[in-house]
């Protein structure tokens, strides 16, 4: 292999066809209320962890939904689990269990 002094960048595109949907299916079975999220972002706005660091629970769960779990594995560790998100969610998504389920899926599926 020759080093030309530049590299072929990885595509930023979310390729759903190549997405790994096992995570989301497991999350969905563990916490079905995830389906009704309408992506309003109130969870992220109130997030305790989000006040101290970049942690976007709405986006993180959406990425799992799109089959892109790799990028958020480390992210999900930032959650303090306080439950404020769940209290503000207008669609009644059980967010704490959702985070638990996402972590569980990552634990089980690697």
């Amino acid at each position: 292999m020759i080093d030309f002094g530049y590299t072929i960048t990885k595509d930023r595109q979310l390729d759903y066809d190549r997405g790994d949907m096992r995570y989301y299916r497991l999350v969905q079975s563990l916490e079905p209320s995830v389906d009704v999220c309408m992506e309003c972002g109130s969870c992220t706005a109130t997030c305790s962890a989000g006040q101290f660091t970049e942690f976007n629970i709405r986006k993180a769960h959406t990425l799992i939904r799109r089959g892109n779990t790799e990028s958020i594995k480390a992210e999900l560790r930032k959650c303090m689990f306080c439950g404020k998100c769940q209290l503000v969610c207008p669609r009644g998504v059980n967010l704490r269990n959702l985070i638990l389920a996402m972590n569980r899926a990552i634990e089980l599926l690697g």
Partner: protein, 355 residues
């Protein structure tokens, strides 16, 4: 795929192309990239009895600098105005460019002047002050591929070969790649519009090939000016090309046909670079997918000697394609110049089969 649907669109984007008496302007870079392409254009134009004139005072249109954010638009316009003045002085009114970016820039400037005549006036003053020249705007502006498109039937008729695999009788599967600056900015200025450009499709169909419509057809070849010109950005350039190769791969293309200076260069050379960086090759048997300009292909169809067309400077070997079509060539002469002196043999790549 419904072809009739495409035809409906192609019908909507008809373009007027002058019949004869062309003022031809060359590209800055093509003579280095694929030196025989423009020569071949002039050759078959002459054979078809067309009058093509070149003015030795012609310079760069400055499009490459303009798109690299080095040359301001007013400077570019004044440069372009000078080219028009050369045309006017030579007594021509049909302007034909060899370069897609030039074509795009000329189109853009003519459109700007159309909407803002005061700018045109200002540029006339600039040109007058700088060179003392005056110009008349061209009556017809076309790209050399438009002109070749117009001649496609004549070429087919006069041609010795067709884009058909002589062993199987199947048409050669061709990917067409249009330069971004051809019709994307002004769809009505390109044959077939921006979404389904017909300029190369028309040639391929006419010459017997089969056009492949693959998902990343619209994607840029990756040149992108600053993406290539700045070495640190070259990763973007090669990634864009790779995206295209990956996308066309399932369709098993046998040829990539282009009409832009940069595209054949990058689609050809990056195949080698990708192979050296990642060990991946495209095309049959690791030989890569040959990339040709429309002039080179027209030359092949017309039976010109492949080595006269400069095909030896292609990174991806063209011999497998020549074999398929049944075009004879002398392997011994591949690396000889016009005086039969050796021009040296390149080193064989690690992965891409070269010879």
């Amino acid at each position: 795929m419904k072809l009739e649907g495409k035809r409906l669109i192609w019908n909507e984007y008809q373009k007027e192309i002058a019949d004869d008496n062309y003022f031809y302007v060359r590209s800055c870079v093509r003579q280095n990239f694929f030196p025989a392409a423009e020569k071949t254009f002039l050759r078959y134009m002459k054979e078809f009895g067309k009058n093509v004139f070149e003015n030795p005072s012609h310079t760069t249109c400055s499009g490459i600098g303009y798109h690299s954010d080095i040359v301001p638009i007013e400077t570019a316009m004044t440069m372009v105005a000078r080219q028009f003045a050369l045309m006017t002085e030579s007594g021509y009114e049909n302007f034909v460019t060899s370069c897609i970016t030039s074509f795009g820039l000329y189109t853009e400037i003519l459109d700007t002047w159309h909407h803002f005549p005061e700018i045109e006036e200002k540029i006339r003053v600039h040109l007058r002050n700088a060179t003392g020249r005056e110009f008349v705007k061209p009556k017809n502006l076309a790209h050399a591929s438009d002109v070749t498109f117009k001649l496609r039937k004549e070429i087919s008729k006069a041609g010795k070969y067709r884009l058909v695999n002589q062993n199987t009788g199947e048409p050669i599967r061709v990917v067409e790649h249009i330069g971004c600056h051809y019709s994307r900015m002004f769809p009505s200025k390109g044959v077939g519009g921006a979404e389904y450009p017909y300029v190369l499709v028309g040639m391929i169909e006419e010459w017997g090939g089969e056009v492949i419509d693959y998902p990343e057809r619209r994607h840029c070849c990756g040149f992108g000016f600053r993406q290539y010109l700045i070495k640190a950005n070259r990763g973007y350039s090669i990634s864009a090309s790779k995206k295209k190769f990956e996308s066309m791969k399932p369709y098993k293309p046998e040829l990539i046909l282009t009409n832009c200076p940069g595209c054949p260069m990058f689609l050809d050379r990056w195949q080698y670079t990708i192979s050296e960086m990642e060990g991946i090759t495209y095309g049959e048997k690791g030989q890569g997918i040959p990339v040709l300009t429309y002039e080179e292909l027209a030359g092949l169809i017309l039976g010109y000697d492949p080595w006269d067309l400069g095909l030896q400077v292609h990174q991806v070997p063209v011999e497998p394609l020549l074999d398929k079509i049944g075009i004879p060539y002398d392997p011994e002469r591949k690396f000889l110049d016009k005086d039969e002196n050796s021009i040296g043999k390149p080193k064989s790549p690690s992965f891409l089969k070269f010879y």
